[in-house]
């Protein structure tokens, strides 16, 4: 039954996201049609043409019918046509998705490993010089905007040293699948992954450190000492096992942000992922495209949260139900 509740809750989130998508062009200043066609086309349109476009897009129908048409469209995979690409939104999004998954996947894996390892180590050394220093360093890294870090990386490694390419995801000259192409892709991943990892590591490190600290202050730790357990055993078998819960939740949140999270970084590196697609959509006032990407991003958060909720009982027996 608990699963039913969770699924219901996420169904509500999806419906809200759909409604938001539907409502935004309609509540924003101007008419919906302003968001569908480029401005120069609109300016030169006659009254009849205007009415015809309205009919074609179903904008003369009652709002309720429009909404049901929109929802039906979404569920049959029809997200409308991207004005700037002249292609179905769905196809544009699909062509970009792999790059974002590649980029964010690496950043997520690296930051999860580095963040939890360093966080646990910091808790072990709590109060020591190393702990304080790493904490201050991490706080600064977590506070520096990732896009700014990215700009500095470009300045140093591309503009001055000329080691790394700063533009795009793959070399344009190499055959996809060839060795040159693969190494080109890898080289182009280094800087954006670094910028993202630095930022996310800070976040996971702080979570892991505080989770460990809280766990180490519990009564069951004192009791484990009274049993005669060694400090190493207390650290791993008791404290770390309990600290896993918040760390897990934090990493799952990161997975949910896979699609939308790299937005700014992708822009800096002109990386052809979902994030830069959003920015292009903003620049071109391509509202269909924006709505489509937004929907995809929502879907990924909802799916990640769903997976997190369903997986949580495996880690925490208190969340299990007979």
């Amino acid at each position: 039954m608990v699963y039913l509740r969770i699924v219901l809750q996420y169904a509500v989130v999806l419906i809200v996201a759909l409604s938001l998508n539907f409502a935004l062009p309609r509540i924003a200043p101007g008419e919906p049609i302003d968001f569908l066609l480029p401005e120069d086309v609109l300016a030169n349109m006659s009254q009849e043409e205007h009415a015809q476009v309205m009919r074609e897009f179903g904008l003369d129908l009652p709002v309720s019918t429009q909404f049901s048409n929109y929802v039906t469209g979404v569920f049959s995979g029809d997200l409308g046509t991207s004005v700037s690409y002249g292609m179905p939104v769905w196809e544009v999004v699909l062509s970009r998705l792999p790059w974002t998954l590649l980029l964010m996947g690496w950043a997520l894996v690296l930051s999860a490993i580095a963040g939890s390892a360093l966080g646990v180590a910091a808790a072990k050394l709590k109060g020591g010089k190393l702990d304080i220093m790493s904490l201050v360093g991490v706080m600064f890294l977590g506070s520096a905007p990732p896009f700014w870090v990215a700009m500095l990386l470009i300045t140093l490694f591309s503009a001055h040293l000329g080691w790394l390419p700063s533009y795009g995801a793959a070399p344009l000259t190499a055959m996809p699948g060839s060795w040159d192409w693969i190494s080109g892709v890898a080289l182009r991943l280094i800087m954006p992954v670094t910028a993202l990892t630095l930022f996310q590591t800070a976040n996971i490190l702080l979570t892991a450190r505080s989770a460990m600290t809280i766990a180490l202050g519990q009564d069951y730790i004192t009791f484990a000492r009274a049993k005669g357990a060694s400090e190493n055993r207390i650290f791993t078998a008791h404290a770390f096992r309990n600290a896993c819960l918040p760390i897990y939740t934090n990493i799952m949140i990161g997975i949910g942000n896979l699609v939308g999270g790299a937005l700014v970084i992708e822009t800096v590196f002109s990386y052809p992922g979902i994030g830069s697609l959003i920015v292009e959509g903003v620049g071109a006032r391509d509202y269909n495209l924006l709505q489509g990407v937004f929907l995809l991003a929502t879907l990924s958060v909802v799916l990640a949260n769903l997976a997190a909720d369903l997986g949580y009982p495996l880690l925490d027996p208190r969340a299990r139900r007979a």
């Binding site: 509740r5 809750q9 809280i214 903003v282 909802v302 208190r318």
Partner: protein, 829 residues
């Protein structure tokens, strides 16, 4: 109480102490931020030109006139960064203000009113938190247009949800706090309670939320502006970087002064906020095993005990230097002996108990003496040796078993661990054997702690302590917080183990009657010193120390003459519970999960007569507290009626029923002055606050009534003084009925009778009728005229106090009496 501690810790550096490291960090953050705000506000005023004016050559390198040089358009970069600070910082701060205000409003409303409003608010929060954050901001920002107000609005819209979630859970626990319950019981409305009780306690928790939102808002603003969604007519740090990026500043040599300064400014501002929120709510855990520092060995005097304490001294480090907690204590524990270490709060008994395993809290230090176990001084043992001894020779049964077990490991694992640590075989057979020893079905080895009852958890802890056949067991308040019958059950288990296994047990407790019935010897502790030791019977009959005498004198005995006189035949009915039933429905979500409604009361009928003291007696879950809440009008019954002078309670004018709560540490807000606390019911009723009246009320409860005392904060009073203040607050309303919910159970034994005398004074002076709720049937026999015994929401026995207590007819009443008189005879269920 923890909230007030927090508020003192946050920023406020107590004047006479040095700054703690955390306060220094927070202060640093504040200083950085203040300097940045000052630079942003006053900096641009120092130069005669604006940030958008063309004042130099494009890409001019830094010079005395333009410290950071110029951008591609010939605008001064330093002035740009300073001016940009105005926008970036104000977006951050304004957004944080709006967001925390909105979040606090929603959180307080939702948690206070509960029910549908709460459900709805929390579903909205869930939805917002499931939406992808940055894409949402950008989509909204794009549709609504690029401007500062849109930025603030959009960031607020997506950021308010998370603080609501965190603040709401705080408000929920505050709402359940007894001083809030007390204010509601006095008739306080939402406005009063929110203003006087919830917001002041919530304030220290709102500050970190504000800091975090500001921190995020500045980062988001810079991202938005960097993407070109900022106000195009205003410079902010983000827009400067946007232009730098758009014009590929990093390909020119100007990047050093064009890209670095705004980025550093952002990072610095964000760091300042992060520092200000540093360590708030963080746990103050020391580094591992700090206490295990060995003492020099000292000469042992001859002794015949298996465990011998000689000259043990312990001190706590405080802001005012070390304070001794245990002073030169010596004690012997012989093979198979059960010794009760008895003392009131602050006597040092638990400190002494924990020091035997060298497991003191971080501030504690063993300052002298030795503890010999089988001739080996534990105080001078090395760490490795100490670990080998812990659990094998000397074991601990700690306070509050709920927290002593690891919540994510099943109990079989935890028992097995105790064996394996010491290199023993920890298979299922041995685990089953140990579970059987403490009367738990071995099939439950796979159960997790939260699946067991409080009594069962305590027995699992005992099984773990016994795993390696220790010679000595230290039991630190092992029965505190358990139901009366379960307490007796645990006591019986200890008695059985001692008889069967021949273990020596040091039983640390404040509960003299419980331990006196079982112990071979008692050691009475007061102010860090053992004042007297001896057999319970000897101490009871001819104690030499006044503290021991006072302790024994304060225990009411079942068969002794009544301590308080019975009251002459009472008048008419004043408060009636007429065939009342109530069940607590699990919420919609809980029912989906399969929870069933709980029947708290079933067909309860009882009446309180004018000038009478009626006792409601029962264990936890018996429904006695629910009956009290109904009589207070806090719940409406599902069936039946609550009548005040024959009329439904809710029609009675004012608040005819006044409640006195169990725990004076919680039922009075520690922040209030004595004056405010006593005057609160008058203020709630909108009556003028009459100083003479307050003084009289205080005098009647034997408290001083001078200005100095009136202005003292409740937080600085002792438990007994606080409960007296609570009584003064009750007296001032001249209530017709008092509900006293275990008014002495949280207080030290020696002051309990004094506090009950105050209740009796009130009945005599004002003719107040008293509904007295207790788990202690012996106390009820002495204090009440009539007694109703409750179990599982039903009254099982009702009659004259002496009849019920001395000639009980119901099985449950007999069990309650046995639990007090012969705890070790309890059946282990």
């Amino acid at each position: 109480m923890s909230e007030t501690v927090l508020s003192d810790r946050f920023f406020g550096a107590p004047s006479r102490h040095r700054l703690t490291a955390e306060q220094a960090v927070r202060l640093t953050g504040l200083v950085i931020l203040t300097l940045m705000i000052a630079a942003a506000v006053f900096g641009p005023m120092l130069v005669p030109y604006g940030a958008r004016e063309i004042v130099c050559q494009p890409f001019a390198t830094p010079s005395a006139a333009h410290l950071l040089g110029c951008n591609d358009a010939g605008q001064d970069i330093l002035v740009g960064v300073l001016t940009g600070g105005r926008v970036s910082l104000s977006v951050g701060i304004v957004t944080a203000l709006l967001t925390t205000a909105l979040a606090t409003f929603v959180a307080v409303g939702a948690a206070y009113f509960g029910g549908l409003i709460d459900q709805l608010a929390m579903r909205v929060v869930d939805v917002i938190m499931s939406l992808p954050f940055l894409p949402l901001v950008i989509v909204l920002g794009t549709f609504l247009g690029a401007s500062l107000s849109v930025q603030v609005l959009v960031i607020t819209l997506v950021m308010w949800a998370q603080p609501v979630r965190e603040l709401r859970s705080q408000v929920l626990s505050l709402r359940a706090a007894e001083h809030v319950q007390a204010a509601r019981a006095m008739g306080g409305k939402f406005g009063w309670i929110a203003r006087k009780h919830i917001l002041p306690d919530l304030a220290p928790l709102i500050v970190p939320q504000f800091v975090r939102v500001a921190h995020n808002a500045i980062l988001i603003e810079s991202s938005l502006s960097f993407l070109g969604l900022g106000d195009p007519l205003r410079k902010s740090w983000g827009t400067i970087l946007f232009h730098a990026n758009a014009r590929t500043a990093f390909l020119t040599e100007s990047w050093v002064w064009w890209i670095l300064p705004p980025g550093i400014a952002i990072a610095l501002a964000v760091v300042a906020f992060a520092l200000m929120g540093y360590g708030v709510g963080d746990d103050k855990t020391p580094r591992a095993d700090r206490n295990a520092k060995a003492l020099d060995d000292v000469e042992k005097k001859a002794s015949d005990g298996i465990l011998s304490l000689q000259g043990v001294s312990i001190a706590y480090r405080t802001g005012d230097g070390p304070v001794p907690a245990v002073k030169d204590v010596s004690l012997e524990l012989r093979q198979g002996e059960l010794v009760g270490l008895v003392g009131e709060s602050g006597s040092g008994k638990s400190t002494l108990g924990m020091s035997l395993l060298r497991l003191l809290p971080p501030a504690g230090r063993i300052t002298g003496g030795g503890v010999w176990l089988d001739g080996e001084n534990l105080f001078s043992a090395e760490n490795a040796r100490l670990r080998a001894v812990r659990g094998t020779s000397i074991a601990l049964v700690p306070q509050s078993a709920m927290n002593a077990l690891n919540p994510v490991r099943n109990i079989g694992w935890q028992i097995s661990e105790a064996l394996k640590i010491h290199g023993k075989e920890g298979g299922t057979a041995r685990v089953a054997e140990l579970l059987q020893l403490v009367h738990i079905d071995p099939a439950r080895a796979a159960a997790y702690p939260h699946e067991l009852s409080g009594g069962m958890r305590q027995r699992v802890v005992i099984a773990i302590a016994l795993a390696n056949d220790p010679k000595v067991l230290i039991a630190d308040e092992p029965t505190t917080g358990l139901d009366v019958l379960v307490q007796a059950e645990i006591m019986a288990l200890f008695a059985q183990l001692r008889a069967e296994l021949g273990i020596a047990i040091l039983f640390v407790t404040h509960d003299l009657p419980l331990i006196a019935a079982e112990a071979d010897r008692l050691a009475i502790m007061e102010k860090g010193v053992i004042v007297e030791t001896g057999k319970p019977r000897d101490l009871e009959q001819h104690a030499s120390h006044p503290h021991t005498r006072a302790l024994f004198a304060s225990i009411p005995k079942l068969h002794a003459p009544r301590i308080w006189q019975r009251h002459p035949a009472a008048g008419g009915k004043i408060l009636t519970l007429d065939n009342v039933s109530i069940s607590f429905n699990a919420g919609f979500a809980a029912r989906l999960r399969g929870a069933k409604p709980v029947n708290a009361l079933r067909g309860v009928s009882v009446e309180l007569r004018r000038g009478e003291v009626l006792g409601l007696v029962g264990g936890s879950g018996s429904g006695k507290t629910t009956a009290a809440r109904l009589s207070l009008g806090q719940y409406a019954p599902d069936e039946g009626a609550v009548l005040f002078e024959g009329e439904p309670l809710h029609k009675a004018s004012g608040t005819p029923v006044h409640m006195i709560f169990q725990d004076p540490y919680q039922s009075l807000s520690a922040r209030m002055s004595v004056m405010e606390a006593v005057a609160e019911p008058l203020r709630i009723d909108g009556r003028p606050c009459n100083c003479a009246e307050i003084a009289t009320a205080l005098r009647e409860v034997h408290l001083p009534c001078d200005d100095a005392f009136l202005n003292r904060r409740v937080g600085s009073l002792s438990g007994g003084q606080r409960q007296r203040v609570a009584f003064a607050r009750a007296r001032i309303t001249r209530p017709q009925v008092i509900l006293a919910d275990e008014p002495t159970s949280m207080l030290d034994q020696s002051i309990r009778l004094d506090i009950l005398n105050l209740l009796e004074d009130m009945r005599r002076d004002l003719g107040t009728s008293i509904l007295f709720i207790t788990h202690d049937i012996v106390l009820a026999r002495h204090f009440c005229d009539r007694v109703a015994v409750m179990r599982d929401g039903v009254i099982v026995e009702l009659g004259q106090a002496d009849d019920v207590a001395l000639t009980p007819s119901h099985e449950y009443t007999k069990q309650l009496i046995d639990a007090v008189e012969h705890p070790s005879s309890a059946r282990i269920i």
